[in-house]
Assembly symmetry: D2
């Protein structure tokens, strides 16, 4: 590695960055799963220099050459120099994508992946351009939870999550689109799966990475207002699964306020109307927030990969938003439930389920984007 | 055939009849695609005696032994004796299903398939019982249009339609359910594809077979009020595709009233709100009608196999119905659009699309029915 | 049908005939499964006039328009006028293929399918030409036995056999090839499954249809020497499965000669060498016969769809033939065994097994034919 | 990691070792792709300590928990402590397999992967037992070349090879079998792809790892005679593909002997008989060698995943071996060629091709092993 030239990540002449970033570009923080970099480079060798930290949810990363996955590994706290390729034909350009597999971590202030520099004996060439930009907002499904792991594995650990096997990545690749993910397992549009209403995605949407807290993440710009420079052609909102679960889980008392929250069912198992209204109001508000920051974007709410319980309330809210705001550039797309035999680990959608939903969503977006 | 015993169809000791029937049981009219008979019979040979009539849309029929399709053929006007099997092991019971492939025909008063008798050297045994009953209401998708035929075939003929390759039949078989179909190509919940508002399914739902007209069909009981004795566990309503098309087709002037009908788009291509309201009102009314006749049935509106254009209006109407009628036993299920390469003839869903939707719908119903 | 023009089958100006035929062209006998006719015709309607006879194995036939299967039905003894299409757009050319599903019948002298004429209001156009010609020689696998029927059906009846779901037809279609079949369930290259050595395919190969006997078939030219005018680019010989079975079945005494035949196993279950030599000699002789009549044809022996028991003896024989005759234009292709869950009726390969073998064979032939 | 207990690999109380090993058990060398260890362990955390060295072909390794792949990465020269899992439920037993992805390296004496110890806070439990043992002998196909990488990638590097996506591993897993691999890209049974006849697998078969040379590998026992303690139920020999290629490549002059080698074609493109005999003799000799060391093992030669060119000569040799040695416990299995669209990198079989061949081979072995 001694005769390779090091280039700070912010000084790489041609680079494509996936995922939201803030003011800090050197080192480059990868906040979300799917966040990463892509370069097109000649030379025989390419290394990436990183610094990571974490507690119990260690970052996993993956890398691809010319679109094919080669490596996936965990990164424990420390400085890392990873070889992304070596011994390749120097004159031939290689497209290399390196990205974070682990979702943004809301429970651990130390968690971070920082890209410092690239080392190569080749030249950087202009990267391929992506004609479309898509933003995905979601929960554990969009965090790829369970796409790795044995079907009977039930703990909740970092290695189960991914961007590499993920309907969002599959869809973006099928459309040749740039994309960014913003997702958090267990969170909802109004409430987390356990009735903790602080775990709602809208509350963090307007920050660069509102899921990452603490002074270090602050210094990386995570807490800054996001500038919404991505300007996606489409936003996919895949939320509601955890809001639905909250109807079946015990009440949660917010330690900050002392208030107890619970989404309730009637004696006949139907949802209590006022509680459904809380979710619907949250959806309407979130759509308004999304529209405010993305005036020309097609917004489509996707739902169904882990059950259809809230289909009607979600559509009710979208219809309300649509009428109240006279906004026709919004839609609902039912995604097929994960079928028996297609589950991955932790009772989450496995690869086949992600593939089918990606095919359905790709077809939908193709018609919107044309 | 001379030494076979003939039994009038109404006198077969054990028989399962698929599809709506009215007061006439001898001969037994098969009004809809999927309408048919099933017997379990010993003996070496089984024949069915039929009488059919038709104009340009000749009936096609199909037959299965022990669940496997063997034959499919057209029946031109006249009397027919069809051999359903011969030379089989006499002592072994065979389950034979014979059914109509062609949808009910609303354009030709002569069209009919009448089952007169069975001839066999075996004995009729009690038929298998079906633990579930499902009703499917739809348009050309539910009529199986295009499930037979080459992908570039574009005329509209009887041989393209089927119950044998059809998401409804696939779903019923997967659930081991009795089922009945009521469908008509080109019709909608409010308007036909060509803005002919007479072509709405609710207007014919309450008759035994409101799609079949004329004195002969009347004499067969088609015009009688249906007694709703089927009492299905679930009703699938797969309508809206033609209502959607009517926004893109020319106005239609009703020859009876002289009134011109047209579902309109705004200059920005969005649907004119009042016209959408016509469809939504029709959906609400239809759901009320369905509930009136099927008080305990789960009703699920399915939509998407040929595009998602009306997803939000349909869900808006279902939500309105649900709230106004305080009825929680109703749902919406988005079915995946037919993907490129999966079309059958006449730009309709091909076998793969029917299979995928059947898998999604089967999974949905399994959770409802348990 | 009154205003359609009848054309004797021998006078149809453009017609493609599939399968071996002899001197009789009017009416045209369809001797083998896959034997049939193809025309390209305008007009709204097309009928075919047939005469058939049979005893317990009634002929089944199928027909396709523009490559898509529409109908499949049995034909009981008598004269038939079948409508192949009606009400189609008159100006558009339709390619129609009509063919026999049932193998040649060696047990019933009466069995026959005779095509007498076509009736249409359209014009016959030149048929599509097929760049390749392929001959398939086989047993029940090539007769499509079990491709129709329920997996637990075990009797041996006509309706189980087909050319419509058959690796041979699939391969020919994939290669856009003309093809002919010569096959017989239960027969081998040396011995039938029951040690009846009269049931060997080489003994009938040189006649037009040596499987069809009796005065009527003789008058149709079945017993005439075949003129080998087909001149295929490739011959597929899919034999050996029944020779293998004969090692496991009781001895057979030939009623004509009084001689008892039995392919034997050693105490350790291996094949008795002399008996294997009988099979190998038969293979060598058959290859020589095939070569004599088809000097430039690639010959490939295919084996495996129902077990691998004779793989080594078959290749031993092919190698011997190859060396002794200095003939390099011969090969062996192992076809994958039918996997659990892929069986059709009567313990024979089902559609999936036929599809996989067709894909393997198509790939093989593509390289030979280029 | 400080509070974990380190156990030397040779002292782990229960461990399953995959792949051939020699006298050195501490550290444990992993010579071949697929070589690895498996433990069943409680505890929250498991680490593996390794030492590796290499030149241009760096080792890649992979690891699985409960049968699901989690990580795959390269190991550059040095000492490594890899975390295989952490933060898992301590009381629950986890089955962890860690294995080498890179084939044995015959070009680089330094190449090695040494397992030194495991570190865990859990207890080792008895490992699952495997009822069957299978040995795979092959070339680049069995080295999994091209199972990773983009289809247009054409250089020859370590990261393209694997045991994780490999018909051999898939077959062993489907049969719940212990297995070992012995393979080398570019090598044949008689000659390498480039006519270098030193590159023949039989010449290295009798050593522990005859492919790994030099003093270090010698000190690890690689050059020792293998004790053939594995005693497999079946040996799969998948060789011949490179022998076939040598007919199409330039002559090779052995630098040691000065002799030039070339497998030749006749003017009509057929193989020169004497050269084919060299291959056939090599096959016969190799089968005798295999039988000498594995007296009760079923031996099956598999061939076809990259073309069928030598099918007949291979079977000729097997038949000769079988007769000359009166050995019936040997077979030939044609594997399906890689179909268009199923290639991986470097014009080698991709995942779909490996899956299909694994299904065919699994079915074959199931019948042998029962």
């Amino acid at each position: 590695m001694s005769d390779l030239k090091e280039t700070n990540i912010s000084e790489v002449p041609y680079i494509h960055i996936f995922g939201r970033t803030g003011r800090v570009k050197q080192p480059l923080p990868l906040f979300f799963n799917g966040s990463g970099i892509e370069v097109k480079v000649t030379g025989s060798e390419l290394w990436i220099e990183l610094e990571t930290d974490s507690d119990n949810l260690e970052p996993w990363i993956a890398y691809e050459i010319n679109g094919a996955l080669f490596g996936r590994q965990m990164l424990l706290p420390g400085k890392h120099k990873l070889c992304l390729f070596r011994c390749l034909e120097p004159s031939e350009p290689k497209t290399v994508r390196f990205y974070r597999e682990l979702q943004a971590v809301s429970e651990d202030d130390s968690n971070r992946v920082l890209v410092k520099s690239l080392h190569t004996d080749g030249e950087f060439l202009p990267t391929e351009s992506y004609p479309y930009r898509i933003e995905f907002i979601g929960d554990s499904i969009t965090s790829g939870e369970g796409t790795y792991g044995y079907v009977e594995d039930t703990v909740w650990v970092a290695m189960y999550m991914s961007a590499s096997i993920n309907y969002a990545t599959m869809t973006a690749k099928a459309l040749n689109a740039d994309y960014q993910l913003l997702s958090q397992g267990g969170w909802g549009v109004y409430s987390g799966w356990d009735n903790d209403i602080r775990h709602n995605i809208p509350s963090v949407y307007e920050k660069v990475c509102g899921l990452a807290s603490g002074p270090i993440n602050e210094s990386l710009g995570a807490a800054d207002d996001y500038d919404f420079s991505f300007n996606p052609h489409a936003i996919i909102i895949n939320l509601g699964t955890n809001d639905s679960t909250a109807f079946n889980t015990p009440p949660f008392t917010d330690p900050d306020t002392g208030i107890t929250h619970k989404l309730r069912r009637n004696p006949d198992e139907s949802h209590v109307k006022e509680d459904i209204m809380l979710i619907e109001d949250a959806i309407v508000s979130f759509l308004k927030m999304l529209r405010r920051h993305n005036p020309d974007t097609h917004m489509v709410w996707c739902y169904g990969m882990l059950g259809y319980d809230l289909t009607l309330p979600i559509t009710e809210a979208i219809n309300r938003y649509k009428i109240e705001n006279n906004d026709n550039n919004v839609g609902f797309l039912g995604l097929p439930n994960t079928l028996p035999g297609e589950y991955g680990a932790h009772m989450h959608p496995g690869p086949k389920s992600h593939e089918r939903s990606a095919a359905v969503l790709t077809d939908y977006l193709r018609q919107i984007l044309k």
